[in-house]
Point group: C2
């Protein structure tokens, strides 16, 4: 019980229903049995229910276990008992037993466990980090200046136990908002942000922006919790909202939950520490000594949030250390358009990101006796979107309108055949979709290029939803009969879809619910977009013409200008 | 507040921390402000903290909002306030603010929402029903006689609003167990089944049985809740444990949750109704009038559980009505081996299911002005496992041992080529894995038969995990170089894997976490099983020999016995 229970005796109230035959309406009495022994209890019962000394009765739980001396001692506050004539008497009337069915704390600490599971070989740890980056993107969306998201792997054991810190210079949280952060499934749609009705600000959906890069990447009220408890066992949220004098801090940990359960304390009660910036006097555990320097960084910052995950699982530490390039590259892929702007990382172009403020997502790994590694996602030049953009020579833009407000922007890019090879980029880390043996039965000319890969990667509110792809649409699929465009050209296209939040994603943001199904609905209207203008044209015809033009203009096949005799090439 | 709060005034205690500069240890006081107005409050503060009349102070929330008359009225029980010298004074010491972070009730009512989402075209509603069948299988596992699971679609609106009822004759639940049912994420591993320590029975893992048909298909403590709130908006659990006199009933509904939220009542408090069997006097809502006859069926039943889902979503009703054969067939697939026994539905064999008691899973649909449709899953003869079993001529059995206790039993079946066609069965409802156009580029001889489909379907504790398949193992994959067995024979095999609970599945039981990854680990030992005996042999060699034998013995290719001239066949 909390420290405000100053009474010496915690009440132990039991509710007793009189279910003896003679009654035809139930009588219900509440007795505080804390100070009673079993005999006193029986006397009290006789008195409360006016049972004369020659009448017999039994008391039982609602499971018909008779209350005896031992069981009486084990009764808990709130228990319901039946007063019966005999233990096997039918219930003359029904009784209403009060119950409590608080979700178990595994709701929080195991929430991510089976959500980000390794999908048969792909490690999804980067996508847990993505949930925290999502939150930081939302928090920094109204920043005036640069938006900084700083991920630090604290793997230097001279500084304490391993920890992962996600730090941003976003709007921070008031203590009420920090409290709300911890409430599982409390989404932005249902949240109250203040104690006071007068201060209430409901959720305002952001205005449409190109590529839906609206930084409004939260939906379910679970992401942060799932992510931190997937990464580790304990999380300290440290935050200071803009203009506030005070820092607010909240610790959630598996250990705490287990302790509260053991001591029969309220599972979902906790404390927020309110303190002045820079004050780390509460950090007394040696395992967390790196926090002193982190907290000292608070001085002079107007607003920030730091998510400090400790108890990081050893397998995650191993993965993060040994696959640093792999997972940072995957994050560069997920946030490609946030980091590089709507045109993406076009290395040939001198255009700079003109859409809004700069976003620095920076990851550093601090290990003992090792030079720290640091990478800014913007500097990663081998994520798949960078490869798609920089190997393509032309783009076909379109828009799909689904029902009321469902809008998907799309780009198809052409990767030409140059001299002796396809330029459609290969994902060096991809697991082959189908066993290689399949290809041996026949030689398919378009096996190079995209092959059987789906055309489209899919972004939701500007960030990649990694496990959903869309294979194609009718109008951009290779026709069954040969048409004006050679078949292999259809393998030279890649695509991107940008959906707004009218399309739903799963709670782990790994898949769309039904993007493809909705896009393929009869009601969907596709328009071509040229220079930012939508054009109501026959998209199939336009696309085919575009593809034909691309082929004629960009594909450089080797042509023989004169016959010089037969030459055997062993290199093919 | 609950009806046991008999006091006239509900306390409104606020906690006040003295944070004025002169203090260097925080003083914390609790004041009940229920009966106070703002001025009385200020007077009380001066008294409690010994503030002289010439000293000034401010009171603020932990978000630094100054408490004035209006905000004072809006304070809630448990709020924390800071006593400050001035509103922008730095916190001299830190304060500990009590918070509550109960999971939002969407945790329960939206739990299934994004879990059983339509995976791009496949309706996963049958898998929500499967969660309830899982529970009934567990509950009936110790039945002496026949195990009955009775699913009724109550779509006759002369009987009330549409409802789905899942009824079983299993062990039922005590009121404590029914209470536990409602606790999200309370799994069998962490549960207490009684109020009393002395009655505590921990979870006992069932002994290994063939094909892992152990009926122990629960794991996370979420399945039932996810399923019922995916199907509808409200659920009434009605149950009677064996030997009990009483029926226990619990209603959980979206509407109730919303009402409690609106009235600021405790979200996770509720009532269990304890009553005598057959007593439906509490059903007063016309929408549920079908319950009277359901409840009258209780008489004379020793044990049962009925899950009554109402507020069934219209799209689900439409799907259930119009695709009756489709989804019952899918359930026959999921529970094939429970319904038919370890050898499955072998229609050629006269063997009867000898392993344990009979399981009747029966589904009926009651619609107005329509003859009721009823099907027993055992009578469905076109589910995929039935097709695999009955088109196959021989089977290769094996076992895989993974680490300590991970055991997977496997069967590979041979579907011969007969005269002019492959007998590998086609799934009439399957969505083609890849667009049909791909096949036109070349004619692949093994395109018939299994084609590129994975070999293995995967069962967990005896029930199908529908979205996970395993393509192949090294030893049964088609070799890159041609070997002793013609390539096309590898397309004539189908397979089944039966894993025990040492392999993990996702919370929605739609996918395995890492079955394939684990099976392909270096440590995995494969043995061949012949007549139930494991044999440590070279599995690759054995399998190849078996496949070769199958080919030679069973494949009936057309042979030309004499040349009669060239014939043009237009039918190929
Ligand atoms: N870095 C942050 N800065 C400011 N507020 C944050 C930050 N991280 C989380 N929050 C707040 O906490 C809330 C809960 O975060 P969480 O990620 O658990 O759920 P969500 O973002 O609301 O929904 P989703 O399940 O889609 O992630 C957020 O809505 C936001 O208000
Ligand atoms: N038909 C039933 N008969 C008896 N007890 C049941 C029945 N259905 C559910 N229960 C009890 O309620 C508990 C909770 O069921 P629920 O399906 O929500 O979770 P679970 O089965 O424990 O785990 P999982 O998430 O794997 O389904 C079960 O463990 C079981 O004890
Ligand atoms: Mg989030
Ligand atoms: Mg279950």
């Amino acid at each position: 019980k909390g420290p405000d229970e100053t009474e010496n005796l915690i009440p132990k109230k039991v509710i007793i229903f009189d279910c003896r035959l003679e009654n035809n309406t139930t009588t219900e009495k509440v007795l505080d049995v804390q100070a009673m022994d079993f005999n006193e209890f029986l006397v009290a019962i006789r008195k409360e229910f006016s049972i004369s000394s020659d009448e017999t009765f039994v008391l039982s739980t609602t499971d018909r276990r008779e209350i005896n001396v031992d069981r009486f001692e084990e009764l808990n506050d709130g228990n319901t008992l039946h007063l019966l004539q005999s233990i096997d008497q039918a219930l003359s009337v029904s009784t209403k037993e009060r119950i409590l069915f608080l979700p178990h704390y595994d709701t929080l600490i195991k929430s991510g466990m089976y959500e980000y599971y390794a999908s048969e070989g792909q490690n999804s740890l980067p996508y847990a980090f993505a949930e925290l980056i999502d939150n930081s993107l939302s928090a920094t969306s109204n920043n005036d200046g640069i938006r900084i998201i700083d991920i630090r792997l604290m793997f230097d054991d001279s500084q304490g136990k391993p920890a992962v810190v996600i730090l941003d210079n976003g709007c921070g949280m008031t203590s009420k908002q920090l409290n709300n952060w911890a409430v599982y499934r409390l989404s932005k749609f249902t949240r109250e942000s203040s104690e006071f009705k007068s201060d209430h600000t409901g959720y305002v959906r952001p205005a449409p922006v190109p590529r839906s890069l609206n930084s409004d990447i939260s939906y379910f009220g679970v992401g942060g919790k799932q992510a931190v408890f997937y990464i580790g066992q304990s999380t300290r949220m440290i935050t200071k909202p803009a203009g506030s004098m005070d820092v607010h801090e909240l610790l959630l940990s598996k250990e705490e939950f287990e302790k509260k359960e053991k001591n029969k304390e309220d599972i979902y009660k906790g404390f927020i520490l309110n303190r002045k910036p820079g004050d780390s006097s509460h950090i007394t555990n040696e395992d967390e000594r790196f926090l002193h320097s982190l907290i000292s960084e608070e001085m002079g910052k107007d607003q920030f949030t730091a998510v400090v995950v400790t108890g990081v699982l050893p397998e995650h530490i191993l993965f993060l250390k040994t696959n640093f390039h792999l997972w940072t590259r995957e994050l560069a892929h997920v946030y490609h358009y946030y980091v590089h702007g709507i045109h993406g990382n076009d290395m040939k172009s001198s255009k700079i990101n003109t859409d809004g403020s700069k976003i620095d997502i920076q990851i550093s790994s601090l290990e003992k006796l090792r030079i720290p590694r640091t990478v800014n996602l913007r500097d990663i030049n081998n994520d798949m979107q960078t490869l798609y953009i920089n190997t393509s020579v032309d783009a076909f833009e379109f828009k799909a309108h689904v029902e009321e407000e469902g809008i998907v922007e799309g780009i198809i890019r052409y990767h030409p055949f140059l001299y002796d090879k396809e330029t459609y980029p290969q994902d060096p880390y991809a697991i082959p979709a189908s066993p290689v043996e399949d290809d041996e039965d026949c030689a398919i000319i378009n096996q190079e290029g995209r092959g059987k890969k789906p055309i489209f990667e899919c972004f939701w509110n500007g960030r990649l939803i990694p496990y959903t792809t869309v294979a194609e649409f009718d109008w951009c699929a290779q026709p069954k009969k040969s048409g004006p465009v050679p078949a292999e050209c259809f393998s030279r296209i890649s695509g991107v879809l940008f959906s707004n939040d009218k399309f739903q994603v799963s709670t782990n943001k790994l898949t769309f619910m039904d993007l493809e199904l909705q896009l393929k609905g009869k009601e969907t209207i596709f328009t071509r977009v040229v220079n930012g203008q939508e054009q109501r044209v026959k998209i199939h015809k336009e696309f085919t013409q575009w593809l034909k033009d691309c082929h004629e203009k960009w594909d450089k096949q080797i042509k023989f200008s004169g016959f010089n005799g037969i030459m055997t090439r062993t290199d093919i």
